[in-house]
Amino acid sequence: METLIMILIGILTAVATYLILSRNIIRVILGTAVLSHAVHMLILTIGGLKKGNVPLLKQADAPYTDALPQALILTAIVISFAVTAFLLVLAYRSYQANGKDDLHALRGTNDE
């Protein structure tokens, strides 16, 4: 199971890298979103997929599943949600102000 998920993570990362390297801002943002999913899966997998019981002391028998990766992912999801939301608004504002959504056109002035 872990191997399968690892392959999936690889595919997600490849897709995200492709998207991030494109010129369109929206594609880049989608790329960052996919990228964050890939790493969330990585954290989950690396902590070991379900091995034991629910980690409730005295209510389930040992061995317990490690609950920490899930807590980490929850935090990471919230953060990536906030950042993606910010990026989308930023891209929209930038499109309004500069009239461009092409990153090559946003490189800066010529004399730089």
Partner: protein, 494 residues
Amino acid sequence: MNNLIVLPLIMPIMVGVILVFLRSYIRVQRIISLLTMIAVACISIFVLNTIQSEGILRLDFGGWEPPFGILFVADSFSMLLVLTASIVTAICLIYAFSSIGEGHEKMFFYPFVLFLLAGVNGSLLTGDMFNLFVCFEVMLLASYALITLGGEKVQLRESIKYVVINVVASWFFLVALALLYGTTGTLNMAHLAERVAEAGQDPLLTTISIVFLLVFSLKAGLLLFFWLPGSYSVPPTAVAALFGALLTKVGIYALFRTFTLIFYHEPDVTHSLIGVMAGITIVAGCMGAIAFKDVRQIVAYNVVIAVGFILIGLAVATPASIEGSIYYIIHDMIAKAMLFLLVGTMILLTGKNKIDEISGLIRNYPLFGWLFFIVTLSLTGIPPLSGFVGKILVGQGTVEAGSYILLALAFISSLVVLYSLLRIFLNSFFGETIISLGEEIPLKKGLLVPIVLLAIGTVSLGLGAEFISAYVGDAANTLVNPVIYIEAVLGGEK
């Protein structure tokens, strides 16, 4: 008692949230935010002194003892940086009062500055790797907001790049955390250090450490600084000064913490890599500092040079060089803030940003001109100003370690810093004045006072090096002997 060390994080956040509701009361916002900064600075001084007498302090959140819970650890290194960060932020706030404009102030400028400082302080104080990631994000999200605030075309253009770069860097941070957790089974820094020391730093752990190096280098602007000059030259002066003073320093702090506490067993791989990166950073920064005529670019490349210089201290990792780096970080926070404020004020006064378009400012604004001269000397490392002690100690460290190439680069970079800033000084402050007496814009006291305060800071840090040497010595001692840190965290109830 130990609860005090959470205040540098909690106070700015709480006050920031309250200030959001006081949106239209600008005066109240100004006073409260400044008072908060001063309060945080006072608390840091108190905690710093407590550490000297009682050793490293720690606070376990929720009573979960390490290595199970999240905790804050205050040692001299982090508290010195918290103290400097709070003072510099307070001074930048004073500058912002008379320069940032009502538009910014009504759009939650002060809350964002407070959130930024909360993120910075949290990153400096935390004792948990994942918590470090969270605090980094708090800091970065505030910086995203500050860099875009105002919404000019250039700002939006540069901030997209800044945000995307940092999102990718954060992704690498998470990957490194996942691999580290998978390998060692813990994220508590002291526990990590203990486990890595026990099991030995095998090639896998070294690889993970290099992923961390990549992440923190992106944040610190070590070698991977391509995003830095663009994004540091677009926001308003007060914000640029805050960024230049604080943000890269947090990355540097993280590099020092990880590579002195956890991954110090394979210096041939990691520390030589840091050395090479620092060397290239210095060379590239020097080229940038000389190449441009736009004063903001010159100043931004000076930040890059300083990052390279500080990390030479980590690369050679002798007690003297680490002590020197700590001095230099503190000095650089003050001096870079001052430099950014001076350059921003120059642009404000003349409306131009190329050095060959500005000249003769010293006739119109003599004090302003001499302040620029002071910061030039200070950044070059002329005694008795604050850069001197750091440079001499880092130099001593490189000689002890026999890294003569890094030594040469470090001191040639000082000459380039001197050249690049003297170029601004000679071109823009001497020569025919371009501003006639009639059209001279009066230099507001509110703009001059913060710069003078920072100048006093750099002079007194230089003259009072003896006074803070006890604190810096203790900080370096903790970094050189990770056992002290591990004992303080895992050594039972305190």
